[in-house]
Symmetry: C2
Subunit: 339 residues, 2 copies
């Protein structure tokens, strides 16, 4: 059902939007007769005033929605801190909504956010999300959206990303240089922009090095840690066991350590490992973990800055529609010589 | 300013609450004349319908607010998962609001949540919070609240906690048994229920063992990791250097490892360490970290269950007003013999 707006009331009664707005607010500038006409029509058409909409109260909700898959991941918790620090300066609060990697949840959340609860949305899509229709619907309700990290090509929003292809290429090349011959890749659903890009970087490096690509060496992680552990163990029990692993998902790193422990394989002597991860503890693991460290805080900060510009009706330059902040490879012992 | 309620409108017009509610919803059961009277009075008294309130739309917002200090802590990210899994089953969404350990933020957030945006709130207070006035104000607006982990004595809400005194006592006793003579304690602000209780457990164990308590061995952590690292190093450079540490805060564990590394002290040979932590990686650290592991998921789950009962207007038994779920000491290498 179409929502009845103040505009529609104005058209119906042949009054100005401002008159309707004032009548609804019981302004002394409007006659009792006009107020009564407005209120009766409003009731008849089931007009639902939105207490957070600027049109009615002359002010915004001052809330920013952060829609992300989860918080048990240091990328997202750092990105949240970057966002919060940026929006707080401008007097905004943020509200975090978790999709738990579930597309239906994500749709329901964005629908919720359509009714003026938030002034704008910062978002990283779920691993199940393949279409941006629900995001476009939100934008059509004049809720600006900025995507970060996990983005969708079919959404005409500003995007803040990192160089996933290049950094996965670098990670794979690093393992090749350190002598790995059979490198495996573990990622999330390839529907996901970042996961597809990281796989591409891995494949580019192997191809360039003249290595054969083998589907047996590519694993897609599921939501179930037990299944993931079993799949990693199976991967490491193949006849041509991988001697290197690039994992595109932070939470898989501990599972690779566990699987190696259970199979009596040493990291890095038997298997060298690089993980996309912002874990503060990476350097304290046994062995310390080589990571592709993403600019999580900066990405959150930058995405929030662009959203604030949109909320201030300031122009967003064309160059700000897709911002790329590079990740860095931090070499530690898990990918080293192991001497 | 007092909010005008449907009740007040009913009193003024000598009509029933249900008649007012139906008139506002333009029900066919109400005559046009009555509707007009209701709408005019509503306008005159500046009655603001709350689009999320059950009284007006016959339905709730179906949102639960989770108000917590931060998400970069595995206790809170696990608790969120426990909450989300529980409320989702009943068709609720949760909205996470972070206080970043700032009391003013916390006050502002609770004020925001007063206007029907959420049906109920699950909350763990900031380390700056000493009074529950803002929480009581929310409860007076008929938004039920359940506190978990970090609770306040002066809030008459249901509380879900863990056995902080007993588990800190056990952790300290474990270090004493393993030969530590000078055990230090690092906590958050002692205004915080959990921090005061953990300090108490530590002191009880030392006292019972006949050890002297020394204020030089008690450290309060600040929001600044650099200052914390400096303070830990200073602690470990004292003449009577501690040979054991109980830390009540997860994020301090990596700093203790770093400080020891920089001072060439070995864990556990020179300093034995136990940390309150739900880190999934605790077992993979070098050395693996002995933890007091809290029932984070279960605490979130239980708190959500009680809130759902309150939202269903079901009775909450007296025994459910304060629920304690025990933590467990998981012994690993950081507190062991180090052979």
């Amino acid at each position: 059902m179409q929502q009845i707006t103040i505009k529609a009331l104005a058209r119906e009664l042949n009054l100005s939007v401002s008159t309707i707005s004032k009548a609804l607010r019981d302004s002394h500038e409007i006659s009792p007769a006009t107020k009564s006409r407005v209120l009766q029509l409003a009731a008849r058409l089931d007009y639902k005033p939105n207490p957070y909409a600027s049109s009615l109260r002359g002010k915004k909700s001052r809330n920013i929605g952060i829609v992300i898959p989860e918080v048990a991941d240091s990328f997202f918790s750092l990105a949240i801190n970057g966002i919060d620090a940026t929006v707080k300066e401008k007097g905004y609060h943020s509200i975090i909504c978790l999709t738990h990697e579930d597309f239906k949840n994500e749709q329901a959340i964005l629908k919720e956010l359509q009714n003026g609860r938030v002034d704008g949305v910062l978002m990283s899509v779920s691993s199940e999300t393949t279409s941006g229709k629900h995001i476009r619907a939100l934008m059509e309700q004049h809720v600006p959206v900025v995507l970060f990290d996990r983005v969708l090509a079919d959404v005409p929003a500003a995007k803040v990303i990192t160089d996933d292809i290049a950094s996965s290429y670098k990670a794979t090349q690093h393992l090749l240089r350190n002598g790995c011959k059979r490198i495996a890749f573990i990622g999330l659903s390839q529907q996901l922009s970042i996961s597809a890009d990281r796989l591409r970087g891995y494949e580019n490096a192997l191809r360039e090095h003249g290595n054969k690509l083998s589907s047996k060496h590519i694993l897609t992680c599921t939501p179930d840690p037990k299944k993931n552990l079993a799949a990693i163990k199976k991967l490491l029990q193949q006849k041509d066991r991988p001697d290197g692993i690039v994992t595109a998902v932070e939470k898989l790193a501990p599972l690779v350590y566990q699987a190696c422990g259970q199979l009596s394989l040493s990291i890095p002597q038997d298997v060298k490992l690089v993980c996309f991860s912002n874990l503060e503890l990476a350097g304290l693991l046994n062995p310390s973990l080589t990571t592709v460290t993403q600019p999580a805080y900066e990405m959150g900060q930058k995405a929030a800055e662009i959203l604030l510009r949109l909320l201030d009706s300031k122009p967003v330059h064309k160059g700000d529609m897709q911002i790329m902040i590079p990740s860095r490879l931090v070499e530690r012992n898990s990918s080293g010589e192991g001497n």
